[in-house]
Symmetry: C2
Subunit: 491 residues, 2 copies
């Protein structure tokens, strides 16, 4: 019986190595590959993904899983076995033709979406998006059948295993109720202070590169840092790589994305070494992952003490001086709040509203309470309710994100789960490390990273996101801590 468990470990270790190969290939696609190689690369990725998927359908697995159930396993091994079973169960739940039909629908719809968004015409998108939605509902039904959960939870669980609407829904609702009043108070305070001075470029790319490298090194990240169109953290176990993007007129893009991706990278580097090639040793869901990037992007990166340390470094690096380069101006810039249409440009306060709106709409569409044809109107109505603004067209409204066209339904909540967990973890870290704020003011991140390593990174998937948070902070997900954080920072 222990032999069956060992056979499973060997099988999943080989699969993990192939996933590592896929990670490097994906990194190459976005950093090194000449554009003309795209078609060949698509074949390589599809073939490798096929092999990785097929490894979950191996006919020996059900027998091994059953036999291992009776083996004498320790806690980590048992959690590993449970994670293996979940992956196999989900892979076997979906008919092969649905996997293909879903991929085809998404890839077709994503192309249509580019045109429809450019032409601001939702009616162009509607037919192909309906096909994507139908396939997503079929996927949801397949997963829900074996997991015994609701349709929306089935999809959401792909991105955040163990997370359920019943848990995060009330927390999100709480925030939605809090936001309008809070936003009005923030705007009132904001109106009473001067607008931040602009930072006038150009900012040499080489200087930005040195700055980003120095920050990443201070965070203990020593892997590759390259350039790509969109910043990301990728690579493989033992070879974590981040990218950033440089804009000569705006160094904040490189600054912010480097802190963000370094946060992801620290999590990947901190996964439990002994379990790195096993399912239980993988990083938690995308929400937990986002909590680690936002710990550095938002909690540290906009911390007043950090900005007081950063401002003179920026001035020195770019050889500038004056009011724009003061710590006070940097703080004002970073706590600027605005009711805007676009999620990716949103600030820390309004970002959750963009997510909550999408979550409510996609859940209604998956569960049948909203017809896709009525999406634009429903979107605009909810924008008015949450943020008091109405998008002038659907490109600035329900067509702004690629997620739905490319089949990522149930994904959006992970952004705000991450933001709330980051606040809650930072709050707990501050209690455990009384000197934390002063350390951040000296750009000493070792103690914070140590605490995150001890309480988050080293646990892999041993616990569900909810259990992990409870163990680390003594509480389940709690909007109160996030609200208190925002009140302290923005009022």
């Amino acid at each position: 019986m222990i032999d069956a468990y060992r056979a499973l470990e060997a099988h999943f270790a080989r699969r993990s190595a192939l996933q590592g190969a896929l990670g490097i290939l994906n990194w190459d696609s976005r950093t090194m590959m000449p554009p003309a190689a795209s078609p060949a690369r698509a074949e390589q990725l599809a073939a490798l993904e096929g092999v990785i998927h097929a490894a979950l359908l191996d006919e020996k697995l059900p027998d091994w899983l059953a036999a291992a159930e009776n083996a004498d396993l320790d806690g980590w091994q048992r959690a590993n076995l449970a994670e293996m079973r979940r992956e196999v169960l989900l892979a076997r739940a979906v008919p092969a033709d649905l996997v293909e039909a879903n991929a085809r629908a998404a890839s077709h719809c994503e192309m249509i979406w580019r045109t429809a968004k450019a032409e601001k015409d939702f009616s162009l998108l509607l037919p192909s998006l309906r096909v994507v939605l139908d396939r997503q509902r079929e996927l949801a039904a397949s997963y829900a059948g074996v997991l015994g959960c609701g349709l929306y939870d089935a999809l959401h669980g792909q991105y955040e295993p163990g997370s359920k609407v019943a848990d995060f829904g009330p927390v999100f609702d709480d925030y939605a109720a809090f936001l309008p009043g809070f936003l009005a108070r923030v705007e009132e305070r904001q109106a009473a202070e001067p607008a931040p001075e602009p930072y006038e470029g150009p900012f040499p790319i080489e200087t930005q590169r040195r700055l980003v490298t120095e920050l990443a090194e201070r965070l203990g990240f020593t892997g590759r840092i390259d350039q790509s169109l969109h910043a990301f953290c990728g690579g493989a176990t033992g070879d974590v790589r981040i990218t950033t993007r440089f804009d000569e007129d705006n160094f904040f893009k490189a600054l912010k994305s480097s802190l963000h991706e370094a946060g992801h990278a620290l999590y990947e580097m901190g996964r439990p070494t002994a379990w790195a090639s096993q399912p239980v040793g993988q990083a938690g869901g995308l929400g937990v992952h986002e909590s680690q990037s936002l710990s550095f992007d938002m909690q540290v990166g906009r911390h007043p003490a950090f900005l007081a340390w950063l401002a003179p470094l920026l001035a020195r690096s770019f050889g500038r001086e004056g009011e724009a380069w003061s710590a006070d101006n940097l703080r004002r810039r970073f706590r600027r709040v605005e009711r805007s249409f676009i999620r990716v440009d949103a600030d820390e306060v309004t970002y959750p509203a963009h997510v909550i709106l999408r979550w409510r709409l996609e859940q209604a569409m998956i569960e049948g309470g909203l017809d896709l044809a009525d999406l634009p109107e429903a979107w605009n109505q909810r924008m008015r309710d949450l943020l008091g603004v109405t998008p002038p067209d659907d490109a600035l409204g329900c067509m702004q994100d690629v997620h739905w066209p490319c089949g990522l339904w149930g994904y959006f909540p992970t952004y705000t789960l991450g933001a709330m967990m980051a606040a809650q973890l930072f709050d707990a870290a501050r209690k455990a490390l009384p000197d934390l704020d002063a350390q951040i003011g000296r750009a000493e991140f070792g103690p914070l990273i140590g605490w995150l390593g001890e309480n988050v990174h080293r646990w892999g998937r041993r616990y569900s996101p909810g259990e992990l948070l409870l163990n680390a902070t003594g509480k389940r997900l709690d909007a109160g801590i996030f609200k208190a954080h925002l009140e302290a920072r923005y009022l």
Copy 2:
């Protein structure tokens, strides 16, 4: 029956895509990967190689191959089917435990070799090299059994399918007989001319990079050019990449290796598009491949007209002048001949002697005519016979190359096959393109590359190396053309 053939094509196309993924991963290992990632990368490569090997052992293949035999196929399809059958036959001929034992023996012996070579002590290497040799003889027996050929041909055929000792042996013997007298005449002429003036560095890396890029572009290579410890051509179908290495004191390393690797790359880029993902569309064996690199490294790269074009470009690029930078000095440098111990440093004239010596020794060891313990003495005796010199120790003698320790037995002849084919192809190209020498003097490579594309590149593996050469040049492999080329250049 045509369905069986189509199923084979789809199967091999997926395998080809995985080989492309492996090519990119190998490229990354040697150009981008942080050294600390080596152990993880080894797992990735092993897992991916395992999948690629296993694809040849798929149990559906024998039935498909048998059924496709009766399908109505055209010439390319039939050649493709034959190549598929050969690959499957060879893969199935070797027991899985021998594949593993061979890999383990080679990887162990390669490590021992580093120490033994450093300590110049063959007795340290002997025990582990004997294990490698035993495994190679077992492999040879496995292949020979299904191919119905001799042991040495079985191993050599892994690197140059369709090439046999019966064909190249007499040609190599002919050259060995010619060399001593020819070498004496070359040395006599050489003694009568002044030694080449040295090129004094430093040569800025950035200038070398521009030079190499310009040359590669003139050759029509537009893929990535990166840096690695040893130059190579790699990547994948549709994404061919070369590397070079820069030495601030010696720009000839980058110059020579770029021409060499660009020659390999042009062959890879010129493979038949419609068959690129099929076995028949792969490049010919390593000898044919080497003929393409040497077409540019040796035939073009040391062509007096090319050197006359290159010399002023070098002087201009590095901002130098004087006798050392004249075309005449460059020619003298490139036609310098020397009796030396080390193959990789050897000149065009003596290089084949190094190969012929290895071929004769490894064939005797594989077939049982020479005991491994007697290798050092046999090596030194043959060095005296061929080049009239005796290595002072085994590090400069039989331990200089990594090939035998790492299990590449039967590989060496491909170097000289490539050199001879390159001379023979260039001779035929010159007859077809009366203006060829003048074009080379203007660094116009289009007509030559077009001729090689038409006569070599576009045929993939449609023909054996011998047939390819016969079709392209009207002759089988002929030492006479190579000798005539050397006489023209060195006397």
